[in-house]
């Protein structure tokens, strides 16, 4: 294996990662020898056809799933052979996720949802959260519950929740995929601004060329390989 040193501000290193899904007797390679670097505070757009393995790669980086070979390092921590509580700690303290389906907690109101991750990580910075909430235009909606919000509002809450913890790395999987075009552009602009402000690195899966062009780098995934 090639000797690879971590340069000082490399936050995420993906080296030769492969992943198969086995089911119904056959095993299918979804990711093949994927390698990628992301510096702290920088952003990458991941594009590709449907089924090319974008979500799978994002889940691996988010320590939500396990790869078959290769290596992923986040902020110096190697994910290979990490046990559940170490992976949990990584998700809690270093990485944040924004999903396509929002995944808000229906029984918590907007304010509680936004501060949830920060409270879980024991890193509540109230001024930051307050400014975040107002930047996201959610101050008026603080007492509402998710079911009383529109799709765009819900996604803004999800973004607020992910950023409230001030993650080093933000992972977002088509965060505006469920929104109409106008809302989508507004939400995406807001997110990019806020990410920039918080100094987090961004790893974003998107279909939109327009969005992809706004980021530092663009990587195209095709049939499990980086083109």
């Amino acid at each position: 294996m090639a000797d690879w040193e971590m340069t000082d501000n490399t936050l995420l290193q993906i080296r030769n990662v492969s992943k198969c899904y086995s089911g119904l007797g056959e095993s299918r390679a979804v990711l093949r020898d994927v390698s990628l670097d992301l510096q702290a505070g920088k952003s990458i757009a991941l594009t590709g056809e449907s089924g090319s393995g974008k979500s799978t790669l994002l889940h691996l980086v988010g320590a939500l799933d396990y790869y078959d070979s290769g290596e992923i390092k986040i902020a110096g921590t190697n994910l290979t052979n990490l046990n559940d509580s170490a992976r949990s700690e990584l998700r809690r303290n270093t990485v944040s996720l924004v999903f396509q389906q929002f995944n808000l907690v229906p029984s918590l109101n907007v304010a509680q949802n936004i501060s949830l991750h920060a409270r879980l990580a024991n890193r509540v910075d109230q001024t930051w959260i307050t400014s975040l909430t107002s930047r996201l235009g959610l101050t008026e909606l603080s007492d509402r519950y998710p079911e009383q919000l529109s799709g765009g509002q819900q996604q803004r809450v999800a973004i607020g929740r992910a950023l409230a913890v001030r993650p080093k790395l933000l992972l977002a999987d088509e965060p505006t995929g469920n929104l109409d075009e106008v809302t989508s552009t507004a939400v995406m602009d807001l997110m990019l601004n806020l990410v920039h402000e918080s100094g987090a690195a961004l790893f974003l899966v998107t279909h939109s060329v327009q969005v992809a062009n706004q980021l530092d780098r663009r990587v195209h995934l095709s049939a499990g390989k980086i083109a």
Binding site: S88, V105, S107, Q112, R119
Partner: protein
């Protein structure tokens, strides 16, 4: 992290208060019924302990004669051979207001007597000085209140430690009071014995060893408490169905939350621990509420239970309830353990839950169907196990094993049976809507089947116990007509007055049947022997179960004896067998009669024979035969006669009414528990329907979109749950009848010593069916109403977020 995660978990309940309330109520009901039964049992046990262990020191083994009494010389011999024994003499001591149990012990060697002294009130005149005095009688203050006349009583010392209706004294005093000098009823074998003794079996073959729980009374009352415990367990199990339903729902609904929390870095083990903490919290809150409920139920039922116990077994239980710490702890523990059992499945699912994908609906339906088969197989196995244990063993425990096996087994098979019925319906459905209804019902089955199982158990218990009680009542009524054949029963104050009364009555041509009896020691208990005067009344009316030809002739010529069913079954004595009434008195059994409502063994001989074998046969009670129309007149005449002051009279109708009242009161407890269990089952249905509500919208919305109105859907919901309840009730009927048969022919024989014929009461079943349907309708009405009034936007939401 922990606080934030726990807060997020608990917030669910905040947003679904109804669900939380059902969960808490279900658990509180379960714990309440269970701990009510436990409180009653505990109270009764405490009373028995006071009654038996303290006085008779029954924790120790005792030595009792096989028949008759132990002569003092025997005791002296055994003491000389080295055995450390403490003698006890016990007998009934007639008083004006009934009689007392008079117990004489050797104050110095008795194992527990001195403890009682130390524990007693300091303000009473108890002291070692008093103890050394052999002329004093120890009584409970309450007993003393009941003794109206104190003349002829030796000096009294009061103590709370002595049970009610018992008088305790030195054996020398007691043998004088009972006029039984040199007699011993039993000897307590003291715990510490010297080494190298000859076995008691060789030294005294005519005596038998008896351990504490071999006591007749405790065996009898044990079975009653076992019945109660079984009932309590049943209600608890039914309550757990509710808990299972709400916990599973609470976890099912929070799958998304768990996933989100995991994605935000809450480790799996912490999540599980937090869920367990949540359940623990719920269990403790609901358990405490259940304890309060249980206390109230127990306090309400205890008077009836003590009536039952004294009516059926002659055991005294005080009518007040005490709080025992053990009871509190065990109630909470039961709630916690029950919650954990009910939620094991849900928690394991969480542990196995993948972080990313959700298993599809189809996969879940498949899992449910394979679960149905698994449950049915387990059910069959339980039924087989119950049957096998009945075939191999006999007795109460085997009876209960069969009972439990059948009940649980059928309940476990219910989902599969119902799904077969629904498949059959689906095959025969004509219209598209009909097809959907059947298919939908089948899809809904896994969610509601636990509640239906609870309903099945509750209904079967109701039918079973109801049939048992009604059959018993019918038999009892017929039996009373035969047994209480005299039109008027009178009791004189003393023998003088009795003689005058008999003379006075015979002059008026009224048949007087003396009711006289004596009690002799018999296998460690007492045998009551009645001496009757031959009369057509007995020959025609006595409620015989088995009788030989010319039986009454042989009784009246003094060669034969009739015995009651209890004696026949316990000692396996039937017509033609010989019975040793005392060591020197043997007679042939020629008939067995039924004798309900009495725990003790009994025999009937002719009066002269009884008088020859027993002294102390008071002649105070009489049954009078006269035309019913003359009864009231006669009562007045006797009341007016100055010689007859103090005579008590009860006419037949009065006595029957009173006996029936006692009978009915006896089963009040059973009836109450029955009804409560049914209520809990109805509640379980409500819970599961509410539970299903959220999952049902996605299934109903498309049908609504296809043009079925919300009202129609609501009615369909109502009919659906009625149909399921009716199907369950249908299955409950044979199960209930089986239960009734078991209770009448197996459990009753063990518990009471008599077997009862089974009668069928279809009207009761109809009433129960209606009740079940009403319960199901009420339970379904809430979700149905919700559905009829639902906003179209709610239904549209289903399409907005395809789940």
């Amino acid at each position: 992290m922990k606080r934030a995660a726990l807060g997020a978990l608990l917030s669910h309940w905040w947003r679904h208060p109804l669900q939380l309330i059902t969960l808490l109520t279900g658990l509180a009901l379960a714990t309440g019924l269970w701990s009510a039964v436990q409180a009653i049992n505990g109270e009764a046990k405490a009373s028995y302990n006071l009654a038996t262990s303290e006085i008779g020191a029954r924790q120790n083994e005792t030595l009792v004669p096989k028949t008759g009494f132990i002569p003092l010389s025997r005791y002296v011999e055994l003491r000389r051979s080295g055995w450390r024994l403490s003698p006890v003499l016990e007998g009934r001591w007639p008083q004006n207001t009934g009689s007392l149990r008079l117990i004489g012990v050797d104050l110095l060697s008795h194992p527990t007597f001195s403890n009682m002294v130390e524990n007693s009130d300091s303000e009473s005149s108890f002291s070692l000085d008093a103890l050394s005095s052999q002329e004093q009688l120890f009584l409970n203050p309450k007993t003393l209140e009941q003794l109206t006349v104190h003349v002829d009583l030796p000096p009294i010392v009061q103590s709370d430690q002595i049970p009610i209706d018992v008088a305790l004294g030195d054996i020398s005093l007691v043998e004088r009071l009972l006029q039984r000098p040199g007699q011993i009823t039993r000897m307590i074998i003291l715990p510490e014995q010297p080494l190298g003794l000859h076995p008691l079996e060789d030294l005294a073959p005519e005596l038998q060893r008896q351990s504490y729980d071999a006591g007749q009374m405790s065996r009898l009352t044990d079975s009653f408490h076992l019945n109660l415990t079984a009932f309590g367990l049943l209600s608890f199990a039914v309550g757990l169905f509710i808990v299972h339903g709400s916990v599973s729902l609470g976890i099912e609904q929070r799958r998304g939350l768990f996933r989100t929390l995991r994605a935000m870095g809450v480790p799996l083990h912490l999540l599980t621990v937090l869920l367990l903490c949540e359940l623990l919290l719920i269990a403790i809150v609901a358990g405490s509420a259940g304890l309060v409920l249980g206390y109230l139920i127990a306090a309400a039922l205890l008077p009836d239970v003590s009536a039952t116990l004294s009516g059926l077994y002659g055991a005294t239980v005080e009518g007040s309830l005490n709080l025992r710490p053990g009871w509190l702890i065990s109630g909470i523990a039961m709630a916690v353990v029950g919650t954990l059992i009910a939620s094991t499945q849900a928690i394991t699912n969480i542990y196995k839950m993948p972080l990313l994908a959700t298993p599809g609906l189809q996969a879940r339906a498949q899992a449910a169907s394979s679960q149905q088969y698994g449950m049915a197989v387990l059910g069959l196995a339980l039924m087989a196990f119950g049957t096998a244990s009945m075939l191999v063993f006999d007795g109460l425990i085997a009876g209960f094993a069969l009972l439990a096996g059948m009940m649980l087994g059928t309940a476990l098979m219910l989902p599969l049976l119902l799904s077969w019925v629904l498949t059959l319906g689906l095959r025969n459905a004509r219209s598209a809507l009909g097809e959907w209804i059947w298919a939908d019902m089948r899809a809904q089955l896994p969610g509601i089947s636990l509640a239906l199982m609870a309903l099945l158990l509750a209904l079967a218990t109701n039918i079973g116990v109801g049939t048992m009680v009604s059959s018993f009542r019918l038999t009892f009524l017929g039996w009373m007509d035969q047994r209480l054949s005299a039109e008027l029963y009178v009791t004189a104050k003393d023998e003088d007055q009795a003689q005058k009364l008999v003379l006075w009555l015979t002059r008026r041509d009224i048949t007087v049947l003396p009711i006289r009896w004596s009690e002799v020691p018999f296998h460690g208990t007492k045998l009551r022997i009645y001496g009757v005067q031959d009369d057509p009344t007995y020959r025609e009316k006595w409620p015989m179960l088995q009788v030989q030809n010319g039986a009454w002739d042989r009784v009246s010529n003094g060669t034969a004896v009739m015995i009651n069913e209890q004696l026949a079954r316990r000692r396996n004595l039937w017509p033609g067998d010989d019975l040793n009434l005392t060591p020197s008195w043997k007679m042939t059994v020629v008939g067995v009669y039924s004798d309900y409502g009495n725990p003790h063994e009994q025999a009937i001989v002719t009066l002269p024979v009884l008088l020859r074998h027993a002294d102390n046969v008071p002649n105070l009670r009489f049954g009078l035969r006269l035309p019913p129309s003359g009864v009231q007149n006669l009562i007045k005449e006797i009341q007016q006669e100055s010689d007859f002051e103090g005579i008590t009279m009860v006419d037949q109708n009065d006595l029957k009414a009173r006996s029936l009242a006692v009978f009915d009161r006896t089963f009040v407890v059973t009836g109450a528990l029955n009804l409560l269990t049914l209520g809990v089952a109805g509640f379980a249905i409500l819970t599961s329907l509410l539970t299903l509500w959220n999952m049902r919208l996605p299934q109903l919305a498309p049908i609504w979109a296809l043009g079925i109105t919300r009202r129609q859907l609501a009615w369909l919901e109502l009919w659906r749950s009625l149909a399921l309840a009716a199907l369950t009730a249908l299955l409950a009927l044979p199960l209930g009848l089986l239960l009734a048969w078991l209770l009448l022919s197996v459990i009753n024989v063990e518990a009471f010593g008599w077997k009862l014929p089974m009668y069928i009461f279809p009207l009761d079943w109809l009433r129960l069916l209606v009740m079940a349907l009403v319960a199901a309708a009420i339970a379904a009405a809430i979700p149905a109403r919700k559905l009829a009034l639902i906003k179209p936007s709610e239904l549209l939401k289903v399409f907005a977020h395809e789940r």
